[in-house]
Every structure is written in structure tokens, then in C-alpha cells.
Amino acid sequence: MKLRLSSRWRHFMEGYLFVSPWVIGFLLFMAIPLGQSLYYSLNELKLSREGLIATYIGWRHYSDAFTTDIAFLPLLKQTITSMLVQVPLIMIFSLISALLLHRPSRGRMIFRGIFFMPVIIASGVILKKLLDQGVAKLPLFTESLYDQLNLFIPDSILVPVFLFSDKLTPVMWDSGVQILIFLAGLLTISASLYEAARCDGATRWECFWKITFPMIMPMIFVNTLFSIVNSFTKADNQVMGYIQTVVNSQNKYDYAAALGWIYFIIIFIVLTFVFLIFRKSMTAVEGRA
């Protein structure tokens, strides 16, 4: 017997068929593991001949993380502060780069190719480690330049500038995907908006703040989300590294699961804040090319 469905139900069923692989995958590789890790984090696991034996201990692993573990909290604080410093820098830098790349000019395609290069080469762990060993320090900011400038500029200004420029290089290499997203966003803004503004006598500066900025607000939101998630899950993130050593060298699966959950909840809180900040400014959709 053939099932007879109304066209509305058929539409639903087709949709479910397309989405079903993802839902199965979500259950197998996300929902069940998440539940299991929550279960581990609330129990004490002991390896025995019959396998893992779990005894319920409540929230003790969570309170341990904040009270007895001396390594976790400083690492967490460090990760969050570096995220708070880096994400705005990445946003500003990638927006400026995207605006520069958007400008019609000779050799723009070559510049684009070069700007996306770090996405390809600088995303590996080993390379990151090598870069930390001093490759990231630009030759321009060496001691000789420092000595030269020191004749004119006092130490108190020069040292922060040098420290800042040292930090800027990793920021630039981290912003490849964001530049890409901004560039794609800039290309969706219709040129007629700028022409109309020009006719009304708006300067370039005004055009940027009144047209470009509101129009790419959604991309700023997406990029902020991406940068935050990226900085939290990056290969050289120290909290991630710490959780991994707890698993690998100390074999404390239960405690590692608790740490993972604390970390995840903090990420979630940060993202909720970002979401609330951007909620009001996400309405500009008209005037796309």
C-alpha cells in the first residue's frame, strides 16, 4: 500500500530526509558524548577489571577546579584576557584590510591571494609553535631600530609600542577568514547607495559610517562569533592544552570532563553577551546588490 500524503506533509518529509543524516550524526557524535561527559564530570571514575566503575560525587570536580587546582584558574584568566585583547584587534585589522582590498586597484587579486595565505600555512599547531619561537617577531622591530628610536622617543612610550607591534603579527595571521567574510560582505552593498549619498554631498568618511558600517553589521557579528570561538578552540590555546594533559598524562577522565564543561559554559556566557550586544543592530538588510 502506498502512503498517501498531502503535499504539505510531503514537503515536510522531504525536508526531514535531507536533514536526517545531520540529525543522526548529531545524536551519535554530539548529543550522546555530551551527555556522557556530563555524567563523567559528576562521578568518580575508577578503572577496574570489569571496565569503568562510576560513583556519584556530585559537583566536587567543579568545586575542585576552582579551589584546589592551582593551574586551571590562571590559565583560564589568561585565555580570557588574551581573547578580550585579540578579538577587537582582529576585527579592526580585518575590516581595514577588507576595505583596502575592496578598493579597485591594479594587483588587487595578487594582494588578495597574499592576504589569505596565512589561512593556509599558519593554521597548524607545529607551525604556530615554531612561530612562537621567534619567527613571529618582525625584523623591523629589532634592537637596532629600538636604539635608533630611543634617541628621540622616551622608553615609556617606545616599549609599549614595540610590545604592541609584536602582538600585532599573530593578530594579522589570525584574521584571514575574517578578512574574507568582510570582503564578501562589502561586495553585497549596492553601489547605488554610495552614488545617492555622493549626490547629497556626503564625504567618504560619512559614507563609511552611514552606509558601510551599518550594512556590514551582520558580518561584524558573524566575525566576532567566529573570532571568539576560534580563539577559544585554537590549537595553541592553553586551557585546551591543559585539559589534554589531564586526560593523557594523568588519566583523570572525570576531572577533565568537568574542566571541559566549565570551559564550555564560560564560552557560552561570553557568546550570549555578544549576541545581546548585537541583537539591536542586526536589522539592516535593504539595499543589497
Binding site: F12, E14, G15, L17, F18, V19, P21, W22, I24, G25, F26, L28, F29, M30, I32, P33, Q36, S37, L100, S105, G113, I114, F115, F116, M117, P118, V119, I120, I121, A122, S123, G124, V125, I126, L127, L130, L138, T169, M172, L180, I181, F182, L183, A184, T188, P218, M219, V222, T233, A235, I243, A256, G260, Y263, F264, I267, F268, L271, V285, R288
Partner: protein, 326 residues
């Protein structure tokens, strides 16, 4: 000559003068702006290319050059032996084959599965749609470390450790390394396509899957290219998951072998520096940085080549694939 005529001529002269000035000023500003623009672009390009230049120049140096302060960029003698050493140290062919299987295999599978799922999300509205979309975003936000222990146990119960299944099977379900992001990219792309093609196909009697496979999937080439390149590159550079699931040296990929070589090399250097007498130490700093850099360059060479070939299409595709997600 009457007064009004004179004032008229003066006015005219004034006008042409200011006009001339204005044009000159404009062209000066234009030239200055262009020069400034290219200065900025070139210096930024230098910063972006700097790691490559540094690695290349270091990899060509002999040990004497590495510690020689007078050698800054160009080594005194071109030397390819570092590449030979690095090639041996990271067992290039074995690692290369493993990396190719792992990253290109996963990337192709992710392109097919994420496109299929993304099409479903983009074109169908069904009960639970909002919840599933929220879960999709949620999946993107969960750090892999939170669920890694249960996943490892699952895969070891299935006997999948030291196989490629832990990478391929989640990828086939639209998960795996950043699978949610790829699904989102495809959703954005399919949403922008007009409905006309599908309607025509449906009227001609094609079912939903045939419509998707023969009409819509081939149209998604720009999004496919972006997802394929990202997926291949991220899999290629990833060491976290391979370190968990591939434990036998036969299965190590290039990034893992590179990490091991890096560790070994620094251990060797420690040993060397203990044995070395102070007289030798003045001339030669014990370091294998030149060999390490050569090995790193070799290990990323395949994806750099891939990028150079697809770069033009890649940047175009990004513009068209709606990665920006309005």
C-alpha cells in the same frame, strides 16, 4: 572699457585659475593616495609573506650561517642538504600518503554530505526547523575537548582506533572537523539561488533527490570549492584528532611526523649542547633550526601548491558563495 566688463573678465580669470588649481590639487591628491595605498599594501603583504620567506631562507642555510650574525637573509652558500635531511626525518612519502587520504578524503566527503544537508536546511521549512538550526549553531560552538573522552571510548569500542573511520564516518554525517560551519556555508549559498530551476525540474517530473543531485548540486561549485579548500587545509594541519585516533607510526600524517621531528630535534640539540666544549660553542650554536624549517616547508608544500592553483577561483568563489551570511 567700462567697469562691469572688467569685473567680468576678472571673474572669468579667477574662475579658470581656481579650476586649474583644483584639478592640479586633485591629481596630486590622487597620486599621493595611490602611493600611500601601495606602500600600505606592500608592507602588509610583507608581514603576511614573512613566515614563508623566513622559513625558506633559514632552510637554505648551513649551520655556520645560522649562527653567523652577518648572514641575515641570504645564506653565503646555497645548500639543499637540509631538505634531504628533513625529507628523511619526516618520512615524507609515508606521511604524505596518510595526509592525502585523511585530509582530501575527509574534505570530499564533507563537501558531499554538508551540501546535501545544507540544501535541506535552505529549501525546506518543517516543524522543528528552528530547533535544528539552533542545534547546528550550537554544534559549531562546542569545543572538541569537551566531548573527546566519550568519543574516544565510542571509537575504541567500535574498534576504529588506527583506522580512518573516526574521520570519515562523522564527516559523512555532516560533522567532523568544523562540519557545522560547512553546513552553514552551504545553507547561505543555496538560499541565494533562484527557485526557478527546481520548479522547472519538478514540473518535468524529477523527484526531490534527482532535482538536488542533477540541478542544484552542480550549481554549488563556488561553495564546494571554499568548503573543500578549508576542510582539506584544516584536516592537513590538524594534529589534535590524529594524535588521539592514529596511534601507530604507520598511520601518522605529515603534521604529526613534523611534531615528532621537532621534539626529537630539540632533544638532540640539548644533548649536543651538553657535549660541546666551550671552544666549539663560540663558533657554532647547536641547532637544527635549518633542518626543521626545511621539513616544515616540505610538510606544507602540497597545500601551498594546492592554494596557488586554486587561489584565483577561491577568491572569486568566496565572493559568490555568500560565505558572509547576511
Amino acid at each position: 572699457m567700462s567697469v562691469p566688463q572688467l569685473s567680468f573678465i576678472r571673474k572669468l580669470a579667477n574662475r579658470t585659475k581656481t579650476k586649474h588649481n583644483r584639478v592640479a590639487l586633485k591629481s596630486i591628491r590622487f597620486i599621493l593616495g595611490t602611493v600611500f595605498y601601495y606602500l600600505i599594501m606592500l608592507s602588509l603583504s610583507f608581514v603576511f609573506l614573512y613566515p614563508l620567506i623566513y622559513m625558506f631562507s633559514t632552510s637554505m642555510m648551513r649551520l655556520q650561517d645560522v649562527s653567523d650574525a652577518t648572514v641575515v637573509w641570504i645564506p653565503k652558500k646555497m645548500d639543499f642538504s637540509n631538505y634531504v635531511e628533513g625529507y628523511k626525518a619526516i618520512q615524507f612519502w609515508k606521511g604524505f600518503t596518510n595526509s592525502m587520504i585523511n585530509s582530501f578524503g575527509s574534505a570530499i566527503i564533507q563537501v558531499v554530505s554538508c551540501s546535501f544537508i545544507g540544501y535541506g536546511f535552505a529549501r525546506y521549512r518543517f516543524p522543528g526547523y528552528v530547533v535544528l538550526t539552533a542545534l547546528l549553531v550550537f554544534t559549531f560552538l562546542v569545543p572538541p575537548q569537551t566531548i573527546v573522552v566519550p568519543l574516544f571510548m565510542l571509537f575504541s569500542d567500535l574498534g576504529w582506533i588506527n583506522t580512518h573511520y573516526p574521520f570519515i564516518v562523522p564527516a559523512a554525517f555532516g560533522h567532523g572537523l568544523r562540519g557545522a560551519l560547512f553546513v552553514l556555508i552551504f545553507i547561505q549559498f543555496y538560499r541565494r539561488l533562484p527557485h526557478v530551476f527546481e520548479e522547472a525540474a519538478r514540473i518535468d517530473g524529477a523527484g526531490p533527490f534527482r532535482t538536488y543531485w542533477q540541478i542544484m548540486f552542480p550549481l554549488a561549485k563556488p561553495a564546494m570549492l571554499v568548503v573543500f579548500l578549508f576542510s582539506a587545509v584544516w584536516h592537513w594541519n590538524d594534529t589534535f584528532e590524529p594524535n588521539l585516533y592514529l596511534l601507530v607510526p604507520e598511520y601518522f600524517n605529515l603534521s604529526q611526523l613534523m611534531a615528532i621531528f621537532n621534539g626529537n630535534a630539540s632533544a638532540n640539540v640539548m644533548q649536543m649542547s651538553q657535549q660541546i666544549s666551550s671552544a666549539d660553542a663560540i663558533g657554532l650554536a647547536p641547532t637544527l633550526i635549518n633542518q626543521i624549517m626545511a621539513a616544515v616547508l616540505l610538510s606544507i608544500l602540497p597545500i601551498v601548491i594546492l592554494y596557488l592553483f586554486t587561489q584565483k577561483y577561491f577568491t572569486e568563489s568566496v565572493e559568490r558563495s555568500g560565505i558572509a551570511g547576511e
